[in-house]
């Protein structure tokens, strides 16, 4: 199925390279929603995401000649779109990124948990509370160094296959897994912090 997609993409790419406007329009229809979704993830704002989407397709239009046809088109284009979104993000006052080491789980010398691990998972059973936590999770992802931010956004939010992400970011599968896990550990820890800040009495009541 994935291969069918890649084959169809490649055919479109060739038609665009040959100067067919209809082929470009079809490409826009095929990928605008995914590019917007990705841009929104980076920028967290509809207007900026729309502009980043335009930038991405403009780059596609100009640079399609440089696309190496032995590669998967969508991986190439995803990278283009990611750069378009980051370039807009850089124009805004930047968020400081965090040292994720500081928020990795803590263990005692013997390898067991050093502190209590609160179970806040019940919080997401309530739709409104879950949405609020999701919004916070978006902020926490944005704090991550880009190498971590990209993988968690692409995999856990966008649900892009791991092999495509590894290809887009030009990293190995083990590196992908390791980054994704650490990014998840970070976001989990941050969510724990905001979910456990309620006074005990209120939480119990």
């Amino acid at each position: 199925m994935v291969d069918e997609q890649a084959t169809a993409d490649l055919e479109l790419v060739r038609r665009i390279k040959a100067g067919e406007d209809e082929a470009f329009e079809e490409m826009v229809r095929r990928y605008h929603a995914r590019v917007y979704s990705l841009s929104y993830g980076v920028l967290r704002n509809a207007e900026d995401a729309e502009e980043a989407t335009q930038d991405a397709f403009w780059t596609l239009y100009r640079k399609i000649g440089t696309f190496d046809e032995s590669k998967k088109f969508f991986s190439w284009f995803y990278r283009v779109a990611l750069n378009a979104a980051y370039s807009r993000a850089r124009r805004r006052p930047s968020l400081p990124t965090v040292a994720i080491e500081d928020r990795m789980p803590r263990f005692a010398q013997d390898g067991h948990f050093a502190v209590d691990v609160p179970d806040w998972s019940v919080a997401i059973e309530d739709e409104a509370a879950a949405r609020e936590l999701a919004a916070r999770a978006g902020e926490f992802i944005a704090e991550l160094p880009p190498a971590y931010r990209d993988v968690i956004w692409m995999y856990d939010v966008e649900e892009i296959p791991s092999s495509d992400i590894a290809e887009t970011l030009e990293i190995s599968i083990p590196a992908f897994k390791s980054r994704l896990h650490r990014a998840r550990l970070y976001v989990r820890q941050r969510l724990s912090e905001v979910s456990s800040t309620r006074p005990a009495a209120e939480a119990a009541g």
């Binding site: 470009f24 329009e25 826009v28 013997d110 390898g111 209590d116």
Partner: protein
Amino acid sequence: MSHDEKTCKQLILDCLFEYEDGSMPEEEHRDLQRHFEMCPPCMNFLTTYRATGKTLKMLKPREIPPALAETVMAFVRARSKTEKR
């Protein structure tokens, strides 16, 4: 639990990812499952790791602006004209 030699640290840092993504051999998975069942902190960690994943799925924008495809095409068309001059 007797032949489960993994510490919580190894379980969480080194094994949890594959425990969850389905790529772990069945026997190893079963051993680790026993650790989770016997160890409340690890179980809570697992539950909240999963809750984190579910929360992240909600972040995908649900609405794409109407007529976005047309806006993009108009943008590229207009820009390609000005850049050619």
